[in-house]
Amino acid sequence: MSDGRHAAAPRLRLLDVACGYDRRVVLRGVRLDVPARGVLALVGPNGSGKTTLLRVLLGLLPPIEGRVELPAGRAPRLGYVPQTDVSEVLIPVSALEVVLMGLVPVRPLLGRLSAHDREAGRAALQAMGLGELAGRPFRDLSGGQRQRVLLARGLVADPELLLLDEPVRGLDVGSSAALVATLVRLARERGMSVVVATHSLDLVANHADHVALVDGGTVRSGPATEIMTDAVLSEFHGRPMRVAVVDGQRVVVAGGLP
């Protein structure tokens, strides 16, 4: 996506952070920069601490030790796209109403949204290819459509830093590719910084600029060109791994399986 060099100050910087829940430390000694532009992927097995790290970056989980710095001198405008199953589908809201929730924190809390805000919501849905479904109940949408509605909500307030938790989980190959392509295009057009927690090594190999490998209670990070190599991935996963190129796309292949 880019050459991995970022002249601008990082959006966030984690310095020797230890984080976890109650008194249980999940990750320790984390040093990580969230670059001002491009895609940073958080990769690791289930339970490794990806979501915990994401919650620290979101400000939902204060570090137990260390600190989170704001090198630019101010907190970036945040957008967040959670996993689809955290939304309450019992609530009878339309796709457009879900998108407009993204404006609630940046508008006066009482009163109505303006016509301009509603137009921004429709434009965000249009950018996701869902302009025709603005009035459709959220609960009646497919998994892929819901994910794109949540992405539109994450983008509607024009964030500087967009964080996504497993954005392609449960999606078929076509939907995943379409979602990722849209996300990468918008990140490039808007000059956003994107942090994505994912299991999909193929997504990371093709689209990430920086990678943070999360496992064993700590984080190893660097440019994607240095991390997404056969040697580093094999060491990280404890089995032979290979990054191959098929029809111009990178594919990560796990070896040593029975």
């Binding site: 979101l58 400000g59 939902l60 945040l78 957008g79 967040y80 796209v81 959670p82 955290v86 939304s87 309450e88 019992l90 609530i91 009878p92 809201v93 339309s94 109403e97 879900v98 929730m101 993204g102 609630v104 924190p105 809390l109 009482l110 009163g111 949204l113 109940p137 909500r153 307030a157 964080l163």
Partner: protein
């Protein structure tokens, strides 16, 4: 007024007003409880408010502030870290058990009688006075107004609390605002509507509205409309078939669920189901003929009219000596009175009953006929004592307010 002729408002005007107010406004608040999936918090807080009122009776302290304090403590304990490792539902279940038991314990130790127990725990809608309805209406309007004004952050916090928090909303504060409004409404309304009716109107109309699968604004409007229909239907059924008022409204609210379900299949089926249910109401009426003067059609010019005049003197802490006199006007005999006349009075607490006349056959019109006195309890801070004339004691299911009887409010010393 002539347009009220034959309606529940002619017989029980303030009860009717309270029921309709609760029917319209409680579901607007309840919709948020349902959407936040904290339904059990509603019933638990209702029991906590009842325990607060009961504790007030026991300690001779103002019941409403005490109820609010207990509700605030309960919210802090049940929704915060104090609940420890218990799940939300488990903590609410434990809180419900404790509050219910405490309400009974407090009342069993208080000087109040069993009727008061029933009224604290189940409400006394039938005996609602103008002051009760004013308080209930103010609480409900405030609660509904707050939730409508704050609907955007409340909706975001209900739909996706994690993202709302990540984007800077104080999710717990918004939840506490909602729970606080609920606590205030429940505590202030408890004396009039009781825990069962309050909880039913919080829960059932929004559940029925959600079955109709409309948008958020339409769901709120439908919740309110369905609550109004349940309250009006329950009122009519209670008056027509001489049923327990609160229970009738609760049953009517429950019936909203199958009717709403049927509406989704076919609106005509829902209308037929609702009509069939309404047609069943007269079958529930008692077999014996109604007592004279209770449910007959009154001519435009009534053959008799009753006036009860009250005066009160201090009689120790929390009590007054009440004197009454009863005047009967234009007694022609064309429309027989009920055999007995009872005076039901309330001064900020549960109603108390006094027998005015054992046999109305002994009355003669135009005379200063009956006088009497008795000590009654008054709530701390009560400024006025109100009353109604009834055809029997409150525990007599056939008893009802006597029409064309006036009891002006009596100032308290």
């Amino acid at each position: 007024m002539s347009w009220l002729h034959g309606t529940p408002f002619e017989l029980i005007p303030w009860a009717g007003a309270a029921a309709l107010l609760a029917g319209v406004l409680l579901p607007l608040l309840g919709a948020w409880i349902v959407l936040q999936r904290v339904v059990f918090l509603g019933v638990t807080l209702a029991q906590v408010a009842a325990a607060g009122v009961a504790l007030g009776l026991l300690l001779h302290l103002p019941a409403l502030p005490l109820g609010l304090v207990l509700c605030a403590l309960a919210i802090a304990a049940l929704t915060g870290r104090a609940r420890g490792a218990m799940s939300g539902d488990a903590a609410l279940g434990a809180g419900f058990c404790l509050a219910s038991a405490l309400a009974l314990l407090f009342i069993s130790r208080s000087p109040a009688d069993l009727d008061q127990v029933s009224h604290v725990l189940h409400g006394n809608l039938l005996y609602a006075l103008q002051a009760d309805v004013t308080l209930l209406g103010a609480a409900l309007l405030t609660g509904a107004g707050v939730t409508l004004a704050c609907h955007r952050p409340l909706l975001f916090c209900a739909f996706d609390p994690e993202t709302a928090a990540a984007l800077g909303l104080r999710v717990r504060r918004w939840q506490l605002l909602l729970f606080g409004v609920l606590a205030v409404v429940l505590t202030l309304g408890m004396k009039t509507t009781g825990s069962l009716l309050t909880f039913a109107l919080l829960l059932l109309p929004p559940l029925a509205a959600l079955q109709l699968r409309r948008g958020m604004a339409a769901t709120l409007a439908l919740s309110s409309l369905l609550g109004l229909l349940a309250a009006a239907g329950g009122l009519l059924a209670a008056v027509r078939a001489d049923l327990h008022l609160e229970s009738s409204i609760v049953v009517a609210a429950c019936l909203l669920l199958p009717v709403a379900r049927a509406w989704r299949v076919a609106p005509l089926l829902a209308l037929a189901l609702a009509g069939g249910l309404a047609a069943l109401v007269p079958l529930l009426a008692p077999a014996q003929p109604a007592a004279p003067g209770q449910r007959h059609e009154h001519p435009a010019s009534e053959p008799w009219h009753l006036d009860v005049h009250l005066s009160a003197q201090p009689a120790g802490a929390g009590r007054v000596r009440l004197r009454w006199s009863l005047d009967v006007h234009a007694l022609t005999g064309a429309e027989p009175l009920p055999r007995e006349l009872w005076l039901v009075v309330s001064a900020g607490g549960p109603p108390q009953e006094l027998r005015l006349v054992a046999d109305t056959a002994t009355l003669h019109a135009g005379e200063h006929l009956v006088e009497g006195q008795a000590e009654v309890a008054v709530a701390a801070g009560a400024r006025v004592l109100g009353g109604q004339v009834w055809s029997g004691p409150l525990d007599d299911l056939a008893a009802a307010p006597v029409p064309h009887a006036t009891v002006p409010d009596c100032p308290l010393p």
